[in-house]
Subunit: 140 residues, 3 copies
């Protein structure tokens, strides 16, 4: 049984949805030692999040940003938590609707994603800065 | 410490929400050997997803379909990713709002779901075809 | 390799979003024996859920309640599952949009949350009563 864990800082990303599959995999080369297992990627923030989605066409990521901005608008009259700026409370809600962590199976030393799947960083703030991830891989 | 992993193809399901708890459990009978552990079900697609919800009344699943179609409509004017048909971009967004994978505790050789909980396949495409799942169970 | 599992009953909470990080940690002191690992918190219900979000300002939790009530309203004309009351079908949808379980990395005997992260119980029913959680921690 093997357990590997890394904590990394991503470079700052602009508001929107970004593919970070390579950043995650580069951080944990020990994954190749695991035959059957799982990798967890966890983001230590409440105004940015993670999800798995389409890895090819950039317009998919643009449409995510447009749709989430409509579904969870800024300056909604029912928000009370407004002192950190109009992008803050929507960022918290988006983060919980998407995910704080994702889990992916490991098979024969590689992550077992579908052909069209990639890991997204979902940056919900205008100036979120560098985000911290905890990456944990385990298996036998 | 035990690790079991299976990759299965579900039969094609129509657009909507479907109970697949039995399909998952039938695929991994080795689960009965685990005293304390966890099972992960992971879907290798970006336009279908998984969730856990009510396992009894079929109208719950119908209401999920109606509500998600209203919350993430087809042909929204802000979509740029439209070349795969009007059901495609909404399918990607629905998949990320629901889940690409679910994790359930294992206790004494069985999955420890609540009385009313079942595993749903959420098929967001009109003709999604057969979907692939990776099922990983581990524990001691 | 260590596996610990506890099943607990939370006290009944009112409809809304509540911080339960301490309730979870108090239930599983064995977590301190794990150097690298993961904790899963799983809720055995389909009308209450879990998420991770901001742990400081109570207005964030109030805004979650307001926003989810707008995004998934009671008495929507498309609901068919209405015999358990107007708060029931929205509760099911909210539970799947948020999460049935959360996974948090363990590092050096403690959960590795960000500074501002806490575990929320999301009680979607008017009178949900006491909710059951299964807490599983594992690692080496």
């Amino acid at each position: 049984m093997k357990f590997f864990q890394k904590e990394i800082h991503l470079k700052p990303y602009s508001r929107g949805f970004h593919l970070i599959t390579k950043d995650v995999l580069n951080a944990i080369p020990e994954l190749s030692q695991i035959k059957i297992g799982q990798i967890q990627v966890f983001i230590k923030h409440t105004s940015a999040s993670l999800t798995i989605n389409e890895n090819a066409d950039p317009t998919v990521r643009m449409d995510f940003e447009s749709h989430f901005n409509k579904m969870i608008p800024e300056n909604a009259p029912h928000y009370k938590h407004i002192f950190e700026g109009p992008d803050d409370m929507p960022a918290h809600i988006k983060a919980s609707i998407l995910d704080t962590s994702i889990n992916i199976p490991i098979s024969n030393g590689v992550i077992n994603l579908g052909t069209w799947q990639g890991i997204y960083l979902c940056e919900h703030r205008n100036c979120g800065g560098s985000r911290k991830l905890v990456i944990t891989a385990f298996g036998n």
